[in-house]
Subunit: 366 residues, 2 copies
C-alpha cells in the first residue's frame, strides 16, 4: 500500500500549516496511513493512536493489549505503550519531540478528551489545533489499487448474497437469514460484516434500519436484505428487495419506481456535480409518482475503509464529486403497514460518468 506516499503528502500539509504533529485516532485513518488494523470498541476504547510529526518517523501509541499486533502490522513505525494513558504519554513525549502545535481530529475526539488534552498539554506549552478533516478528504478519492480492493469486497458480497438468495426458501426466519449471510462472509474470507446485516420481511421492510427478528419470511411480501462485508480492510454495501413467490401489482410498480430512481441517480453522477444534485435526480423520480414522503433518507454515502464515509449524497451537501470517489446509490420507498423497497449498488466516479461496481442483476428481475 501507498503508506509512505500518503504520509509524505500529509507531512507537507502539516508543514505548510505550521503544525508540528498530527494525532490520528480514527481507526480508518490509522489504517490508511499505516496499515494498523487494531479494532476499537467504540470511540471510548481505542486500540491506539498515530502520532505523525511534520518531519520524521511515524509513531504508534497503544497499550499492552495491542502491542504484539501493532509491532507485527507496522514494523516500520516506533510502537510506544501508554500504561498511564495516552495523555500522560503525550505530556512527556511531545516536549521531547519539540512539538508546540499539535493538530487533533476534532470530529473524532470527545469534548471531554479535548478539554483534558488542552489542560494537561497546555501546561507543557503545547497548543492544540482543530484542523480540517484532511485524512477523510484524502480517503474520499480512491486510488486504482484501493478501487481494486473495493471491487473484490463488492464481488464477495454478491457471491454471498447469491448463495443466500438461491436458498431463500429454506430459511425459517429473518434471524436465520442474517446468521447464514454473516457465516458465509466469514467462511469466504471476509473479516466480518461491515454493519449489522438487515433482513426485513413484510411490515419490517418499512423500517429502513430494521433489526432481524424471529419472524418467518412472508411469501408475496417485500423482503429487504441490506448487507456488506469487510475484506482486507475495505467495505462493501448492497441492498436488494425481492419477493418470495409471486409479487403483486403494487410491489412491481413500486419496485420499478425505485429502480428508475437508482438509475437516475447513477446517470447524474460525474466529476464536478454537487452531491445534492445526485440526490435530487433520484428523489425527483420518486416524488413524481407521489411517494416523495416515503423516501426520508439520503440517497447514498461514500464507502472505503469505512462503510459510511465522505462524500454523502444528501440534499444538503453542496460539495462536488471527484473522479475516484466511491459511493452507494440507494433510494427507497417505505410504506408503514405494507413494507418497503430499497435497492443499492456501489459506483466509482469516473471522468465521464460512473462505473457500477455491482454485477448482480436480481434488482432488474421485475
Amino acid at each position: 500500500m501507498e503508506y509512505q506516499e500518503r504520509i509524505d503528502h500529509l507531512q507537507r500539509r502539516l508543514r505548510r500549516a505550521g503544525i508540528d504533529a498530527l494525532l490520528v485516532a480514527r481507526p480508518e485513518n490509522r489504517r490508511y496511513l499505516s496499515g494498523y488494523g487494531g479494532g476499537d470498541h467504540g470511540i471510548e476504547e481505542s486500540s491506539g493512536v498515530l502520532l505523525l510529526p511534520a518531519r520524521g518517523q511515524l509513531r504508534l501509541l497503544t497499550d499492552f493489549r495491542f502491542q504484539l499486533q501493532a509491532q507485527r502490522e507496522v514494523p516500520w513505525a516506533e510502537v510506544e505503550l501508554y500504561p498511564k494513558g495516552l495523555i500522560a504519554l503525550l505530556a512527556t513525549l511531545l516536549p521531547k519531540l519539540g512539538v508546540k502545535r499539535l493538530a487533533f481530529e476534532s470530529r473524532y475526539t470527545l469534548h471531554a478528551t479535548a478539554a483534558r488534552m488542552e489542560k494537561t498539554l497546555g501546561a507543557k506549552g503545547v497548543e492544540l489545533v482543530a484542523v480540517r478533516p484532511w485524512l477523510e478528504e484524502m480517503r474520499a478519492v480512491k486510488s486504482e489499487e484501493e478501487i481494486a480492493l473495493i471491487r473484490r469486497a463488492v464481488r464477495l458480497n454478491e457471491e454471498v448474497f447469491q448463495e443466500i438468495h438461491a436458498a431463500i426458501g429454506s430459511f425459517s426466519s429473518e434471524i436465520e437469514v442474517s446468521l447464514a449471510v454473516e457465516a458465509a462472509m466469514r467462511r469466504r474470507g471476509a473479516a466480518g460484516p461491515s454493519f449489522a446485516t438487515i433482513v426485513a420481511s413484510g411490515d419490517n421492510a418499512a423500517l429502513p434500519h430494521a433489526v432481524p427478528s424471529a419472524s418467518p419470511l412472508l411469501p408475496h411480501r417485500p423482503l429487504t436484505i441490506d448487507m456488506g462485508l469487510i475484506l482486507d480492510g475495505y467495505c462493501s454495501d448492497m441492498t436488494r428487495t425481492f419477493v418470495i413467490g409471486e409479487a403483486d401489482e403494487r410491489y412491481i410498480q413500486l419496485h420499478r419506481v425505485v429502480r428508475r430512481a437508482m438509475l437516475a441517480g447513477m446517470a447524474a453522477i460525474r466529476p464536478g456535480v454537487p452531491c445534492r444534485e445526485v440526490d435530487r435526480a433520484a428523489r425527483r423520480v420518486i416524488a413524481d409518482t407521489g411517494y416523495g414522503d416515503c423516501f426520508g433518507h439520503s440517497l447514498g454515502h461514500g464507502v472505503g475503509l469505512a462503510v459510511h464515509e465522505e462524500p454523502r449524497l444528501s440534499s444538503r451537501n453542496r460539495r462536488v464529486l471527484k473522479a475516484g470517489m466511491v459511493v452507494t446509490v440507494e433510494p427507497g420507498i417505505y410504506v408503514p403497514g405494507w413494507g418497503g423497497i430499497r435497492l443499492e449498488n456501489m459506483v466509482v466516479v469516473r471522468p465521464d460518468g460512473c462505473e457500477d461496481l455491482n454485477r448482480d442483476t436480481t434488482w432488474l428481475d421485475l
Copy 2:
C-alpha cells in the same frame, strides 16, 4: 422498568444545578431513561437523542429512519424529527421551551459537535454546560430488577458456552467456533453478542484481544473463549480458557495461578473498597509467581446496558465500590509464543462481599 423514577431523580438534579434541560446522546443512557433501543452506527451516526427538561415531558429527537421504532418503544414521549439535523431543530426548539442552560454529555459528544452547538445555540442565547456523567453514575449501581435481567444474560451466555464446549472437538477453526457461538446466542433469543467473540488457540491466546482466525484449534494448547451477549438490553461477559486433550504441567500451573488471582479479586470486593485495591489483590497473586509483566490489562469493568461501563477495576481508579454494582473479574497471563490464560466471571457487589453471577464450573476443572 423504573423510567419515571429515574427521570424524576435526574430532573431534581437538573433543577438543583440550575440547568434547564439535558441532552442525552449515549445509546445506553437513552435506553436507561426511556427504553428506546435504537442502534447507533458509532458516535457519528446517531439514532436519536433525548431532551430531558428540568420540568415537564421527555422528548425523543430522531430522524425519519427511526421514527416508527421511536414511537413504538417510547409511546409516552413526544417524538420529533430533525430533517435538517439535530442542531437546527434545537435552535428552534430550545427557545420555545425557554431553555437557557443546556447540559450535554461531554464524554459522549464530539469536540466538533460541541463547537457547532456552542456557536449555533449560543447565538440563540443558550449556554452549554458540561456536567458530571450523572447517568453513568446512576447506571453503575443496579436495582434488583436490573440484576435479575443481568443474571438472565449471564445464564444464557453460559448455556451457549456449555453447548459449544461440549462439542469443541467438532470445530475446524477459531472462526467456526465464533460463528457457532454467535448463532447459538441469536437462536436462544439474544439480540446478539455484546462484543466480537474472541476465540484464540495456541499462540493467538497470547493476544488479549485476538481476532478469530481460520487456524484450527490446537490440541494440548490453551484455547481462550471470551464471549458475551445482549438479552433484553443487558449484557453478559465471560471468559474461559481450557485445553483440548491433555494439559501439560506448565498450563496447569498457570491456570491455577490465574484462578487464584480471580478468587483473590473476588474476595477483595465489598462496598467501600477502592476499585484499585481489588485490582491490586488479584495482581499480587500473579506478581508473586513471577508473571506480573504478563498481566498488562485491568482486572475488570462494570457491566450493564453497556458491556464496558463504570466502575473500572483498574490500578488507577480510587473510587469505591457500592452495593449493587456489577463487575467482571478477569485476570490473565499472556506469554508471547506460548499462549495465554484468562478467566472471567461477573459478580454483584453485596453488603458484605460479592455474589458470583456465574454457575459454569469449567474454570475449576484443573
